[in-house]
Amino acid sequence: MAKKNDSDSKTQAFEKALAGDQAKRYVLRLYVTGSTPKSVRAIRNLRKLCEEHLQGKYEMEVIDIYQQPELAQNADIVVTPTLVKRLPLPLRKFIGDLSDMEQVLKGMDITLKS
């Protein structure tokens, strides 16, 4: 269920972003807890959002903190599910199952194609 990038491409993405492309490229991480209903909903909502609004300019990683609890501490996760927008800056956290799509888009500074 998780689409995982290897560390090389992550670094590349980061460097690319630093090179001035951050307005275009979204680096997103979703922290979930196994396959609870909220987790599943959050993943589904995020996929939908990326496909509809960020086609071709996003990198997404889903992390199950049941399996990697140390990552929860590193990313300072308290609430699950949490979506962390690492790029473009500023860093932002979206908590909850992302069902309030409008709020997410607003927070990501994405204007809706109407």
Partner: protein, 568 residues
């Protein structure tokens, strides 16, 4: 069967987890409830974080229980710095895996709420942290911060309830800190979830002096002291003073020790005072209390004992200088490490702080004698009843360690001089009263023993002299005019001397006359005797002559008879 029943009672009894915080384990009879959650609440700056931190540090260092500190407010670096001031080395504990610190930051400005959520992330982090060091103790400081970061309070409440139940199931001994609200123990009503043990910390300022207090508001299933207890946050951690530990079970020492003033020893049954007793010297200003105290201290140092001198009115240098004027060289004892003079205005600290600092210093220095000069200065810091309680505690603490305690107490002129301001006199074993007697246009010092438990003691007033060789006591003159001291005593003594000299002269004169008369008599006797001897000789001569005459006469008569051829 009965055995089985007993065992089950044992099991039922609430197990406790010692905090290692001095005094706190006493008032809670063992510490916090093991495997349960305790709430520590109080206003800002009351020491909640440090209380919790000491619980973990002592757990790791003294009770072999590792701990996890989850901070919602302070970063690990801040915690390390703050704890260092209490003498805890957190990095060391972290490196040896006895302590784990986790900083949970919930910044509202970074967060968008987009739907349903839960605190599973926090659970996972806690669980991970607990497992990574095998923790038995946990601190959540201050979990209420979550309420300001997350807007959905109903989710939070449900999750917190779940969290506390989860912690209980895991058997974690937990401290949750909370900030005191206006009308409730905590702002968010955490006390609703944490029902086993609630501890309230308080920091109040009365008459510009701050005192910290701790109170066990609730402790389910156990006895606990319900009073407010003063506490201190010092360079050696958190300290609670149990007010009620007033058991009078210290040993009474039979040994006498000298006061350093020979005449005073003589007044005290000839041996001085008891070791480990409380001596009180009271008197108005300038009666020589400090000098007596310094003499006692000097005597202790001479015996090779250590003495600690708390001077609330003078600096150590000043005290040394002043005492040199009465021939006491205190400097050498300071240099030899036998005497420690602590010059400090009590107003610097609050009362509890003061007492505890004193106890710490005394424990460190381990003296045989402690002087507090004067105790009355402590009333500037606290209410008299507090001061009395505090001094009683200090005295108990010291007597328990067989330390002789010497208090001086300033009595106000005009007040009843046999009443010490602090009302400590009932605690005192030996009470000396110094007073100024004003007669004949001068003031003179006098000393009396008001009481001395367990020994015969003099009831006499003695005049008390401060000389360049030390303190001397002299008898006062008690005559028809009353008690005389000072120059009145001296002039009275001179009068007496003159009268004595006159009498002596008279005696000499009479004796001379007696001798003369005797000589005359002897002379007369000698003369009579010589006269008599002359007469005697003459009479003897005559007797001899007459005898001769008589013999001659008899001889003649015989011759005549023969010539007559008479028959015989």
């Amino acid at each position: 069967m009965q055995q089985g029943k007993q065992r089950s009672y044992e099991e039922l009894r609430l197990e406790k987890s010692p905090t290692g915080i001095r005094g706190f384990d006493e008032i809670t009879q063992g510490g916090l409830p093991r495997g349960r959650t305790a709430l520590v609440t109080g206003g800002p700056g009351t020491g909640k974080t440090m209380f919790a931190m000491e619980f973990l540090v002592k757990g790791a260092t003294e009770f072999g229980e590792t701990g996890v500190f989850v901070s919602f407010e302070e970063t690990p670096d801040e915690l390390i710095a703050n704890s260092a001031s209490l003498g805890f080395s957190l990095p060391e504990l972290c490196e040896s895996n006895r302590l784990h610190m986790d900083y949970v930051r919930v910044e509202r400005s970074e967060i968008e709420e987009t739907g349903e959520y839960d605190l599973e992330g926090l659970f996972i982090r806690l669980s991970h942290a607990i497992n990574s060091v095998g923790a038995k103790r946990l601190v959540l400081d201050t979990i209420e911060t979550l309420f300001s970061g997350l807007s959905n309070a109903s989710i939070l409440r449900a999750e917190l309830r779940r969290l506390f139940r989860w912690l209980k199931d895991k058997g974690m001994t937990t401290i949750v800190t909370g900030e005191r609200g206006a009308n409730s123990l905590t702002r968010e009503g955490l006390e609703e979830y944490v029902s086993d043990c609630v501890i309230l910390l308080d920091h109040r300022v009365a008459e510009q002096v701050s005192t910290r207090r701790i109170r066990v508001v609730k402790y389910r299933g156990t006895e606990h002291g319900t009073n407010e207890y003063p506490f201190l946050i010092s360079g050696r951690g958190f300290m609670v003073l149990p007010i009620t530990s007033m058991k009078l079970d210290y040993q009474a020492d039979e040994e006498h020790v000298s006061s350093g003033i020979p005449r005073l020893d003589a007044m005290l049954d000839g041996k001085g005072f008891y070791r480990g007793s409380l001596l009180l010297v009271s008197g108005t200003a300038g009666t020589g209390k400090t000098s007596v105290a310094a003499s006692f201290a000097d005597a202790a140092c001479r015996r090779g004992e250590r003495c600690m001198y708390f001077a609330f009115e003078e600096s150590d240098q000043q005290l040394i200088r002043n005492m040199r004027s009465i021939g006491l060289d205190l400097r050498r004892w300071v240099e030899k490490g036998r005497l420690m003079i602590v010059g400090q205005r009590p107003t610097v600290h609050g009362l509890e702080h003061h007492l505890m600092t004193m106890q710490f210093m005394i424990d460190d220095f381990d003296p045989a004698m402690v002087v507090v000069d004067p105790i009355t200065n402590l009333t500037q810091v606290g209410i008299i009843s507090d001061v009395r309680a505090m001094l009683a505690r200090l005295v108990d603490h010291l007597k328990g360690r067989k330390i002789t305690v010497f208090f001086t107490s300033l009595t106000q002129g005009g007040a009843d001089e046999e009443m010490t301001e602090v009302g400590i006199s009932s605690l005192a074993d030996t009470w000396l009263k110094l007073q100024n007697l004003e007669t004949g246009g001068e003031r003179n010092r006098a000393i009396t023993i008001l009481k001395s438990r367990g020994m015969a003691h003099s009831n006499q007033v003695r005049e008390f002299l401060l000389t360049s060789e030390g303190i001397d006591l002299v008898d006062v003159y008690v005559g028809p005019e009353g008690v005389l001291t000072g120059s009145a005593r001296v002039s009275r003594e001179a009068d007496e001397k003159a009268r004595e000299a006159a009498l002596r002269l008279e005696i000499d004169r009479l004796d001379a006359e007696r001798k003369k008369k005797r000589a005359l008599l002897e002379e007369r006797i000698a003369r009579l005797r010589s006269e008599f001897e002359g007469d005697e000789r003459e009479l003897e001569g005559r007797i001899h002559l007459e005898k001769l005459k008589m013999e001659t006469m008899i001889q003649k008569r015989k011759e005549i008879g023969i010539s007559r051829k008479a028959e015989t």
